[in-house]
């Protein structure tokens, strides 16, 4: 009896926090739009992002790839402090935007989120009219004062999002009545309407069909001339098509960053190579 107890001693694994792995490639760019230094993110006790350091350049599309659960969304949501809405989420490190650390207590998230807009995985237009979907945010930020201002912003945003021709005759109809691809472009137009500088996109095409996806990809290419875009995608082809730089995440670490061409043709890290050649996903 005693023997049994003694022989089956439970081996306690010591779960000491593991060190973050070093990022290889070039994290720095000349005159970056956003600068992230040693960013750590925790959900309660669990660390989801480890010591990530990366620059996001002006007018570039940065794609973030990696197996699911590696923390791409988590990292992306740090960039406009959307993680604030999650109760037990804690962010450490510096994220510099326009010379300020966005997590500084003196920073107001309201203008920050107007400057760093976001597009979600599932198109989420408000249950309001197409017009209202776009005019709503400029109104609350006081960007528009008159009806004609609002009309103008609605039109330019929809034009930029490539949706104007399709919806100009039914602006008063609900945004939720559009097709999935149109809804997603409406969401992009909605983000553009408050004149952001950075647009964050979290797998914006994963709920769309190939044609709608192609339209969004074209749109991203066009938007690049005005905005900085950070896009999370699970499709490596998409990353290759739309982005200039690619960041590869793995289990909360930023493994490799570099020019998209370089990352996909001659990855420096074994994990990156395994991932892009489809050895795991």
């Amino acid at each position: 009896m005693l023997d049994v107890l003694n022989t089956t001693t439970v081996e306690k694994r010591n779960l000491a926090p593991r060190d973050s792995r070093k990022t290889i490639g070039t994290v720095n760019v000349p005159n970056p739009r956003m600068v992230c230094r040693n960013v750590n993110v925790y959900y309660g006790d669990k660390q989801a992002i480890r010591n990530v350091t990366i620059d996001i350049g002006c007018n570039e599309v940065l794609s973030m790839i990696g197996p699911s659960g590696c923390g791409k969304s988590t990292f992306l949501r740090c960039l406009n402090r959307m993680n604030d809405t999650i109760d037990n989420c804690r962010v450490e490190g510096d994220i510099i935007f326009e010379g300020n650390d966005i997590y500084d207590p003196s920073i107001d998230v309201v203008p920050l989120r107007a400057q760093v807009g976001m597009v979600f995985q599932k198109p989420n237009p408000f249950p309001k009219s197409i017009y209202e979907n776009i005019a709503w945010a400029p109104k609350i930020h006081g960007i528009v004062e008159s009806k004609s201002d609002a009309d103008e912003i609605v039109e330019t945003s929809l034009v930029k999002a490539g949706l104007w021709e399709e919806v100009k005759d039914r602006l008063d109809q609900p945004g939720t009545g559009l097709s999935g691809g149109q809804q997603q472009r409406l969401c992009i137009a909605r983000a553009i309407a408050v004149s952001p500088e950075v647009i964050l996109m979290d797998e914006p095409c994963s709920a769309l069909d190939p044609i709608a996806t192609a339209k969004i990809e074209d749109l991203i290419e066009e938007l690049r001339s005005h905005y900085t875009i950070a896009i999370v995608t699970h499709s490596m082809q998409q990353a290759a098509r739309v982005s200039q730089r690619t960041a590869f995440f793995h289990l909360g670490d930023l493994i490799e960053v570099g020019k998209t061409d370089d990352v996909f043709t001659k990855p420096l890290h074994q994990l990156t190579e395994d991932y892009i050649t489809g050895r795991y996903g």
Binding site: N80, M82, T85, V109, V110, P111, L112, R113, A114, G117, M118, F120, K122, N124, P125, F126, P127, K128, W136, A137, I140, H141, Q173, P174, T176, G177, C187, R190, A191, V194
Partner: protein
Amino acid sequence: MDLGTRKILDKSFTAVGITSILLMAVALLVVIVPIFSGGIGAIFFKGTIEHRKLQYEEFGNGDREVIQRQIEESDIYRNKVFAMLGEFETELESMTPAESRKLRSSYKKARKVLSHLLGPLPGDQEPILLRYRYGTTRWEQAEEALHDLLYVTKWDYSDPTRMAKQYFVPRMEEFKGTSLAVFFPFMEENLANMMLPEQTFYWGFITERSLDAHIFGGIWAEIQGTFFLAVGAMLFAFPLGVIAAIYFTEYAKDNLFTSILRSANSTLAGVPSIVFGLFGLAFFINTVKVSESKSVLAGSLTLAIMILPTIIRASEEAILAVPKAYKEASMSLGSTKWRTIVTVILPAALPGIITGGIISLGRAAGETAPIIFTAAVSVGATIGIADVFSSPTPALSWNIYNLASEHEAANEIRHVQYGMVLALISIVLLLNLSAILLRARISKKLKG
């Protein structure tokens, strides 16, 4: 399980389901049909000349000339009756007291029934109560009164092991051989000539006040009281409930305090309404003294406390059902939490919140127990909007109970009671219907 068994199970399940739904429908019919037909009878009935006279004299309704002419018409027959009574009375005078003793008491009884039927008779004192100033206003009441006049109701107690049996003896027999004998067949033949029944549409049942404790007149005071109480309750409970629901869903942290609040709320939802009634009396009237005694205000507050948990729950559910994506979209555009709640979450939750609100409104309108001690009076005048802080009011729910159980003439004014029940049910159903329509409209606007 093999295919055969599964099919049998499916079929029997369907059968049981359909049966229970049918049973419910039948039960509903059994309840609704009599209420409906009885209630309609309060508005749509054969009215006698007495009804028209009353309407003219008390409410100023109707054409004076027409009524005057009809009164003259019916008086031709009534006067003949009065002449018979006069003849009999002189006959009585000429009898010896011993002879007339029994006849007199019988005659007194017959006269009483007759005055109930026709209104005050010649030689009667001017009645003080309004109910004695007019005869029967409804034809079926007149027929009943005629039956009472023609027959004396007797009870047969001969078999002590059985319930007593009712039987009727013609009243004429008591007056055999007197001059009054001709009076009974005359009455039977000429009732319609004396009462002049006409198909009547009495809309005033809804819009007029009651006269002499619902013996005559309508139920407007009750309808208005119900409206004041229910709307008053909503004025307090709806904003409070919605704000509480916002707190629970958007602000409350999961800790001991909020879980106590939550379970308190669930418990309150299950407390019997009479407890709320007593609480309202003890708290609002005796402790806080919102009014000297019963008042619409105290009743509304009590009802508000009663429906608050339901409103909180319905609103909470509606808010929780709003997709998180709306909230995320709003936050990502730089909206503050409060603005997100007001401009995105609440509008999306509105159909559910309104449904909860209107169903609670219906409940507030229908409950009796909470207002017994706090707001309701059985007979009362229609109150003005300024009186709600100090005066009690009649209300449908309470007066239905009162008419059914305590009214001295309950049997004669069944139609009023049915009318009240129908009015109450209609109000509640209308409220629910409008909730459904409103909900459909708003969801359609949201979805497109």
